[in-house]
Symmetry: C2
Subunit: 125 residues, 2 copies
DNA sequence: GATATAATGATAATAGTAATCATTACTGAT
DNA sequence: ATCAGTAATGATTACTATTATCATTATATC
């Protein structure tokens, strides 16, 4: 995998923001640095970066995919009110049962849905 | 929500098989009973059944969506070898941290990736 | 059974992502 | 530093899964 300014810009953007971004959001952000970057290049690099383990992706219920440059094991919470994505520690001891069955777990994706503290406060009457 | 033979057939199929099926697989299976059912109807009913909580959906890494008529809380394991989907108990005590933060958790989706016992055995040299 | 209307089948439309291909630009050897 | 080989790019087209549209059909209520 060669070093290109497009790939570097995408990775730097994802690492600079502790948030989750869709492919188009990344495209828009990177275009400020590389105005003529192609959306295809963004998708190609996101795929390659996932493949190499430099970023991860989060798929939410409504078929949206978000990319995350923070790769330490963590769970995601999707707020159905404000649509925000929040990080949480991954619960431990989760894969015990699977390992017992002889399964080799290479990654685990935990996404929870509900209301964040703010939205929960506002909907309570 | 009205009772239709299309909806009944979809739900019965999903409940009869303890496996996970994509929309097209469901379409093909139900077409044996209702040959002229439309794929749009399948999608419409799958959406409605998810909405009403009668089935659940599992999104895997490679953008495939599978539907599951077994709705008791459980985690999914996707084998990257044979592409099979396996069920596991959902680990307990998982949402403690989220609840402590004032978050209201309504559902949790845990998908793990790796190799099932069979595929792990075959790839070990 | 007649009526109201939700759901259907057929089709077209959309959105997100992947493939194509000529051109550009990294990288390693000279 | 220059060059050659080739991986990655931008522009575009193609694809696939899903959703919307709409006239027609079938379900539930009276």
């Amino acid at each position: 995998m060669r070093e290109t300014k497009q790939k570097t810009a995408i990775l730097e953007f994802l690492r600079s923001k502790r948030q989750h971004h869709s492919a188009i959001q990344i495209y828009d952000a990177v275009r400020e640095k590389i105005p003529n970057i192609s959306l295809g290049t963004v998708y190609r690099n996101l795929g390659a970066l996932i493949e190499s383990g430099e970023i991860i992706s989060v798929e939410t219920n409504d078929k949206c995919v978000f990319y995350d440059g923070f790769i330490a094991d963590h769970a995601h919470f999707v707020c159905q009110g404000c649509k925000g994505i929040f990080d949480f520690d991954m619960p431990t001891g989760m894969t015990e049962e699977m390992k017992k069955s002889g399964f080799k777990v290479s990654s685990e994706h935990l996404v929870c849905y509900g209301l964040c503290s703010e939205c929960a406060k506002n909907t309570a009457q």
